[in-house]
């Protein structure tokens, strides 16, 4: 290697590095680069390296010659807090080049200075061209900008999603309201057409009336389907489990569809198990709807031969349940293989040449499929073109003994009333309802604890494990949904069934209740003889009591909405005693006056939240004491106010019905 002078070597170093310090064997600085001189001044010459910098790396390096000689080639990181300058470099032994001492060569330590001294004033010329710290700085800035961009984009997307969901919900509510509103007049049209059809008309008119009736029925089916579609789970939450006779259900289905089969000259046969002596727990309305639909469809597409309904039990691994297989076979034209996957889609009227000819809405099979799914089954089809089709599904149903059935239905010769066992928590902000219902629940054997607010219920659930919690949905401060969610989060209550207690549960409310962790619904007013079947799903059924005073009776509202249904209060008197009822009625009457005034004021002021709240409370109380007609009007008022719709309830008529009902209530209470 050609020897170079110290000066030439120094100049070469300065082309490659901007921070250069030469030290002699005593550790004194003997030469510095222009950048170091700019920072520390020419006075740095002669000082020790350790006076200029505090070293972070290598460990143990203090700037002395001796320590430096032991750290040759290692990364050196050093800084001077006072000057707010830092370096990163390397120590080299100058003696290799025939010179004395060590040389510290490097560049400004940019990251340290960005952090400690952002106003460092360094420029590109302070960094050698091969040093990538400036590149890194730009890259880091670019990455930060990208992160900010993505966060901004994410926020925009979230906002757009929220707006979209809100708009979707608004449209769905509107769609639901419109569908409901359409159904009412349409029912009137259908009823009128039904009555007109009974008259004597010429052939042409009769044909047109039939056409009108057919179209109206299809429109009603579409509206019903639309309402079901809004609720993706169908309104099956209304379909509480109940005991039913399979034989009666099948007979009903066959009887309903028989006429059409006979009209077409078809045989309608039942095969499989001849009879099912025991009753089952299940959802008979849904099952009946499915079977009628499938048999009707089979009849429609069969021109000659027979339609066969098969119902048979097959082995079930679960000893408590039986697996029942249902199938409906026709001798129609069959369904091409490639069309079979589409026939369950809504409005699938054009899937096959046969469905193209049919004049249905194309909704029947979709509804049947959803009904079967909501009962826990799967509707399927097997078919070959020209060989008919078989639609089938299986359901696992619990068989109930005769005795259990008697207990559940109250339908016994000895008028035995079933009882339940377990401890339950009853939550309701309405003290009248709370007291009354606690008495009713106690009377069927349950140990009842009460809470008057959602918060109080949570506290009680923390301290005690209940077999069941009955939760009112409409409570001030913390509603039943919030309370249910909080209770569901408690370790001890994770599996405790929570059942909503409500006077009105629309589909949306039911969905929200299920989403909050509730398992079911119990409609107010609570009817004692129905409780065993309603709560039997969650509580243990006990031996019956004999109590001739309890019989099933019609306590519900009917189409005429009686002003006062005395049977409810009479039953209450038997359940909890006349004294308790007297006290409750007195409380109701005294509070109703104030609530009625508040309601009137809110109506005048257009304060819909107050209207809704007061109508809810008054309505609940009315139903509790049998004032059905007023109760229904309050319920309608509550609904309209809550949804901010036009208030259509005639308040004068309501006042009259309420007054008349109260008169009847007072007479009954005084008479007893």
């Amino acid at each position: 290697m050609e020897s170079t002078s110290g000066s030439e070597f120094w100049d070469r170093l300065l082309e490659l590095y901007t921070v250069v310090c030469q030290i002699d064997t005593e550790g004194r600085v003997t030469a510095i680069s222009p950048l170091v001189e700019r920072v520390f001044g020419s006075g740095a010459i002669g000082s020790s390296l350790g006076d200029l910098f505090e070293f972070k790396r290598p460990a143990g390096f203090d700037g002395t010659y001796r320590a430096g000689a032991e750290s040759l080639g290692e990364l050196v990181l050093g800084y001077n807090e006072e000057k707010e300058f830092a370096l990163r470099g390397q120590l080299h032994d100058y003696s290799t080049f025939g010179l004395d001492g060590l040389c510290l060569i490097g560049v400004p330590w940019l990251w340290w200075m960005q952090e400690k001294n952002p106003e460092h004033g360094l420029s590109f010329s302070d960094f050698p061209i091969l040093d990538i710290q400036m590149d890194q700085l730009f890259f880091a800035s670019a990455q930060q900008t990208m992160v900010a961009d993505l966060e901004d984009l994410n926020a925009q997307l979230q906002l757009a999603q929220q707006q979209l969901e809100a708009e979707g919900e608004r449209r769905q509510r509107f769609f639901g309201h419109v569908s409901h509103e359409m159904r009412t007049p349409l029912n009137g049209v259908i009823s009128a057409l039904t009555l007109i059809k009974d008259g004597q008309f010429d052939e042409r008119t009769t044909k047109f009336i039939g056409l009108a009736a057919q179209s109206a029925n299809r429109l009603l089916e579409i509206i019903n389907f639309s309402l079901d579609t809004i609720n993706p789970q169908l309104d099956t939450v209304n379909e509480s489990s109940e005991s039913f006779s399979m034989d009666s259900l099948i007979d009903d289905c066959l009887a309903i569809t028989q006429a059409r089969a006979l009209e077409k000259g078809l045989r309608l046969e039942r095969v499989g198990e001849k009879s099912f002596p025991k009753k089952f727990m299940g959802q008979p309305r849904l099952l009946k709807q499915v079977l009628i639909n499938l048999i009707g469809n089979a009849t429609k597409f069969t021109d000659d031969g027979k339609v066969v309904l098969s119902v048979a039990s097959i082995d079930s691994a679960d000893s408590d349940k039986r697996c029942i297989e249902f199938s409906v076979a026709d001798q129609g034209p069959g369904i091409p293989e490639d069309a079979q996957s589409k026939i369950f889609e809504p409005f699938a009227t054009g899937v096959t040449p046969q469905t193209q000819k049919s004049k249905g809405t194309g909704l029947g099979l979709n509804i049947a499929k959803r009904c079967v799914e909501s009962m826990g089954g799967v509707l399927s089809v097997t078919s070959k073109e020209g060989e008919g089709a078989v639609f089938g599904f299986r359901l696992r149903l619990t068989e109930v003994s005769d005795r259990e059935n008697q207990l559940l239905t109250g339908d016994t010769d000895t008028e035995a009333v079933a009882t339940l066992s377990g401890n339950i928590l009853l939550v309701d902000d309405d003290e009248e309802n709370l007291l009354l219902n606690a008495q009713v629940l106690s009377s069927i054997g349950l140990k009842v604890e009460t809470a008057t607010s959602g918060q109080a219920a949570i506290e009680q659930a923390k301290n005690e494990v209940f077999n069941l919690i009955l939760m009112d949905l409409d409570m001030p401060q913390m509603n039943g949904l919030e309370a249910a969610r909080a209770i569901r989060d408690l370790p001890a209550s994770k599996t405790t069934p929570i059942v909503a207690l409500t006077a009105h549960a629309d589909v949306d409310m039911k969905q929200r209740a299920l989403a909050s962790g509730m398992q079911g619904f119990l409609e107010k007013p609570m009817l004692r003889d129905r409780l065993p079947s309603q709560l039997g799903e969650w509580l243990e059924l006990q031996a019956a009591n004999t109590d001739s005073s309890f019989k099933s009776g019609d306590q519900g509202t009917n189409s005429r909405d009686p002003v006062f249904l005395s049977a409810i209060v009479e039953r209450m008197q038997r359940d909890v005693g006349a004294d308790v009822v007297d006290a409750l009625v007195s409380k109701f009457l005294s509070e109703s006056v104030g609530r009625w005034d508040t309601l009137q004021t809110a109506l005048m002021n257009g304060d819909l939240p107050v209207v809704s709240r007061e109508a809810h409370t008054l309505g609940s109380s009315c139903f509790t004491f049998g004032l059905q007609r007023a109760g229904n009007q309050f319920r309608q008022l509550e609904s309209e106010a809550r949804d901010e719709r036009e208030l259509t309830v005639n308040m004068e008529a309501l006042a009259e019905d309420l007054g008349e009902g109260i008169t009847g209530l007072e007479q009954l209470v005084q008479g007893s």
Binding site: S123, F124, S125, M134, S141, A142, M146, D149, L153
Partner: protein
């Protein structure tokens, strides 16, 4: 061009004229994207379409729109998002422009699609200072005019652009700015 340019144009429109007019610009331009990622390379056509639509919406000449955008780019985008680099690139406008090629060289080593312009500063030309701008892109000389005014403002300097002399080139664009420094 990188998305940061389109993003800056969008920001300028919204800040100065409101979201409604930006939406009109976007619709008029036919550009599908409403959001731009700073360091993603977009087709140059996107920027040109947005600039033309903005000029149409504001009923001004395209060159005027580009000049305004140049000023906005320095004052609201570069100065905010790349302030450390701006400071490191120079202590004054001419120093900055002299180091700008070096900055662009470094950026090119990281962002491989980067196609930067170049600047040559002559502090001692006959009429004062000349800055030669060259780019493979066409039509952005007015944007550079805005950039120079924005830079001077950012460094607290006062300049007058005396003349802009385009030069004939086979491809792209080359212009020389004659500047008087006050």
């Amino acid at each position: 061009m990188y998305g940061v340019v389109n993003k800056s144009l969008k920001e300028m429109m919204i800040n100065q004229f409101g979201d409604e007019r930006w939406q009109k610009v976007l619709k008029q331009s036919g550009v599908a994207a409403d959001s731009f990622l700073s360091m993603r390379a977009y087709d140059d056509d996107v920027t040109y379409k947005l600039a033309q639509a903005a000029a149409d919406e504001l009923q001004i000449d395209l060159d005027d729109a580009l000049r305004a955008f140049g000023v906005h780019w320095v004052e609201h985008t570069a100065a905010k998002e790349y302030s450390a680099l701006m400071r490191a690139t120079g202590a004054d406008m001419l120093g900055f422009l002299e180091n700008l090629n070096s900055l662009h060289d470094r950026i090119s080593s990281t962002f491989l699609d980067y196609r930067p312009p170049s600047f040559i500063v002559d502090r001692d030309c006959a009429s004062g200072v000349s800055i030669q701008y060259a780019s493979e892109r066409i039509g952005l000389t007015p944007f550079v005019e805005g950039l120079l005014n924005g830079l001077a403002s950012w460094f607290g300097e006062s300049i007058t652009i005396l003349d802009i002399r385009p030069e004939a080139v086979d491809a792209g664009e080359k212009s020389t700015f004659l500047i008087s420094m006050q």
